[in-house]
Every structure is written in structure tokens, then in C-alpha cells.
């Protein structure tokens, strides 16, 4: 889906979205107005994870931050594979050199997501800014997307839930996965897992903005996509593996 932006719309959006006030010399206050306009495809959110700077303990902290933010992980009746996991710690080992690396694995927010291709109801969808989501209003729980995902990033809710987070409705019979903390990103904040660890290890930002920290770093260092052979052009990139 491509969307063209004309000059008038661009000016309207850029003036409405951000107001910058200078309070005193050197201090600026940036306020984000409520998002009245649909997200445009002039942005693509992505993440660069430096596995060399992330300890196993820090990956656990990321997983817990995700659990707390979205309220998953305390399901009483789900067992084994039924348990939801939006983000998990994965150990990879080079068979030849025996080098072991741990990395956090979640939805990779692909440019060409297989989960979207296979969804029979259009519930699995990609927003214009590249965030891949499940529209649970349309999800019928068929779990084709779970089978199609090469990263095993999606989970199915097997039991009735109550007391969900206000920003993250979840319910039995639907599929769920990492949302890249879309509710926070829309407010100009960083995803919960990124905020939970030191800022050097994970860079979150706009891949289409050539001046963003993530784009500058990606230009400089060696990075990789997991299963790059599938040509999905993932939004989550890794370095050090």
C-alpha cells in the first residue's frame, strides 16, 4: 500500500504534530499534540539491537518490562506452548566455533510480513509506519499467521482474561504479538523494552530518516537481519551475531 503526501498535507501534519517551545537558553520543551492525523508512510520504525552490549540478565529485564507494560505472562491455565511470549531470550550457537550469543527475539516488523499475507480476515496488518499488528476486532483465531511467522513471534490467548491494561486489550481466541509499543510510539516515547536497558545497547528510531541515530549507526556498523534469506526486510536488526 503506498500513500503519496502532497505539500499541503505535509505542512498541515508537521505543524499539528509537534510544537517546540524554548523555555530558557539551551532548554526546549517538545509537546506532542493528540494524533489527529493518520500515520503516514514517511516513517518506518525500527530497532537495532547490539547483542555484544546486552547481557543475558538484561534480556530478562527486557522480557519483564514487556510483560509489565502489556500485562501478559500471568495466565493461570495456559501450559507449555500455550503460554504467550511476545518477546523471548534466544541462545544461538555457532556449531563450528562454539560461540554462544543470547538475543531478544520478538516480532521483527517485516516490510513484507508473511503473517499479513496469509491472514484470511485482514486482521493481521501493517500500519503505514511499518508497525505490524493484529486487529483483534477482526481476528478469528485461525492461527495461520502463527504458522507463517518464521520468528515464532506470535502467541494465541487460550483463556479468559480480566483486568487487562487500558492501552492493551487482550482476549481469549485471538492472536497477539509485539506491537513495538505502538501506544507509546504514537505519543513520541520509546518501546518499554528499549527504555528498560542501557541506551547504547538498543537504538530505536526511524529507518527512513537518514539523520536518525539508528540510520547513522546502520550506515557505519555491520548489522544483520535474522533469516535475511527470506527477503522480508525486517525492521528489527541485530549487530554482534
Amino acid at each position: 500500500m503506498s500513500e503519496s503526501i502532497n505539500r499541503r498535507d505535509f505542512i498541515k501534519t508537521s505543524t499539528a504534530a509537534v510544537g517546540i517551545t524554548t523555555i530558557a537558553s539551551g532548554i526546549t520543551l517538545t509537546t506532542f499534540a493528540a494524533n489527529k492525523d493518520p500515520v503516514k508512510n514517511n516513517k518506518r520504525w525500527g530497532m537495532l539491537i547490539d547483542t555484544k552490549r546486552l547481557s543475558g540478565q538484561e534480556i530478562d529485564i527486557m522480557v519483564n518490562a514487556c510483560k509489565q507494560e502489556h500485562g501478559w505472562g500471568s495466565e493461570k491455565h495456559s501450559v507449555g506452548d500455550q503460554k504467550p511470549s511476545w518477546i523471548k531470550k534466544v541462545k544461538v550457537k555457532d556449531r563450528l566455533t562454539q560461540k554462544e550469543t543470547s538475543l531478544p527475539l520478538m516480532c521483527q516488523h517485516c516490510e513484507h510480513p508473511p503473517c499479513v499475507d496469509v491472514c484470511p480476515t485482514n486482521a493481521s496488518m501493517k500500519r503505514n509506519d511499518g508497525i505490524v499488528l493484529v486487529d483483534r476486532h477482526l481476528c478469528i483465531g485461525c492461527r495461520y499467521c502463527m504458522m507463517a511467522c518464521p520468528y515464532d513471534a506470535r502467541s494465541f490467548v487460550h483463556e479468559d482474561l480480566t483486568n487487562q491494561k487500558a492501552h492493551m486489550p487482550r482476549g481469549k481466541g485471538t492472536v497477539e504479538s509485539c506491537t513495538l509499543c505502538v501506544h507509546k510510539v504514537d505519543e513520541g516515547e520509546q518501546p518499554a523494552c528499549v527504555a528498560s536497558v542501557n541506551s547504547e545497547a538498543i537504538i530505536f528510531g526511524d529507518l527512513k530518516d537518514s539523520n536518525s541515530k539508528i540510520s547513522k549507526t546502520l550506515r557505519k556498523i555491520q548489522s544483520t537481519q535474522i533469516r535475511a534469506d527470506l527477503n522480508l526486510n525486517t525492521g528489527v536488526r541485530y549487530s554482534g551475531i
Binding site: A34, N163, A166
Partner: protein, 111 residues
């Protein structure tokens, strides 16, 4: 139906903020009574699929205003509990509400 709406207004009177906002927030109460399924359906697609996050017609805002608290404990009562804002009408007309198998039924923690 008149009795249901009377009950519905009683639910509002417990929350002065809600009464204030009904008069200023909704263009017309009769319109929102009739049209709220369409409004909510339109808004859900705008928010989830396009990232439009405004208060108008947002289910979260319905709950923030219209949920009552228990007089004794001070805790919020689920908006779909018996006799509460959603169920008082929906039960009468036998229309099930699917929203709350996923959505939270009380305002967010610390609201």
C-alpha cells in the same frame, strides 16, 4: 425504554465530572444513544489501523467517564457489570456486548 434511560441517567449522576462532560462532550445524547455502535466501530479502525488517537468516540474515554465506584470501598465497578452503564440498556434489549472480552472494564490504574 424510558425507564432504562432513567436508570442510565442515575448511573451518571453519581459522577459529577461525567454529567459535566455529557453536556459538553457529546453533541447530542440522543444521537450517541442511537449511533454509538457505529461511532465506536469507526473509531476503533481509525485508532488501531491508522494511529489516530483522539478522545472523541474512544471506548477508553467512555469507561473513564461512565464507570461508577463502589460507595463503600471506593473501587471502580466494571462498566458491564449488572445494572451498570453498558449493561443496563444492553440487558434490557438482549444485545450482547463483545467489547469487554478484550477491553478493560474500569478506568486505567491510577486514573
Amino acid at each position: 425504554m424510558a425507564t432504562i434511560f432513567a436508570q442510565y441517567s442515575n448511573n451518571l449522576s453519581g459522577n459529577s465530572d461525567a454529567t459535566y462532560r455529557t453536556t459538553s462532550f457529546h453533541e447530542s445524547v440522543s444521537n450517541i444513544r442511537k449511533m454509538h455502535p457505529e461511532f465506536l466501530k469507526h473509531k476503533r479502525d481509525e485508532t488501531l489501523r491508522k494511529g489516530v488517537r483522539t478522545e472523541e468516540n474512544s471506548l477508553k474515554e467512555c469507561i473513564n467517564c461512565h464507570a461508577n465506584t463502589n460507595e463503600n470501598t471506593g473501587h471502580y465497578i466494571g462498566i458491564n457489570d449488572q445494572g451498570q452503564f453498558c449493561s443496563s440498556c444492553h440487558k434490557e434489549v438482549s444485545v450482547s456486548v463483545d467489547c469487554f472480552s478484550c477491553h478493560r472494564t474500569t478506568p486505567a490504574e491510577g486514573h
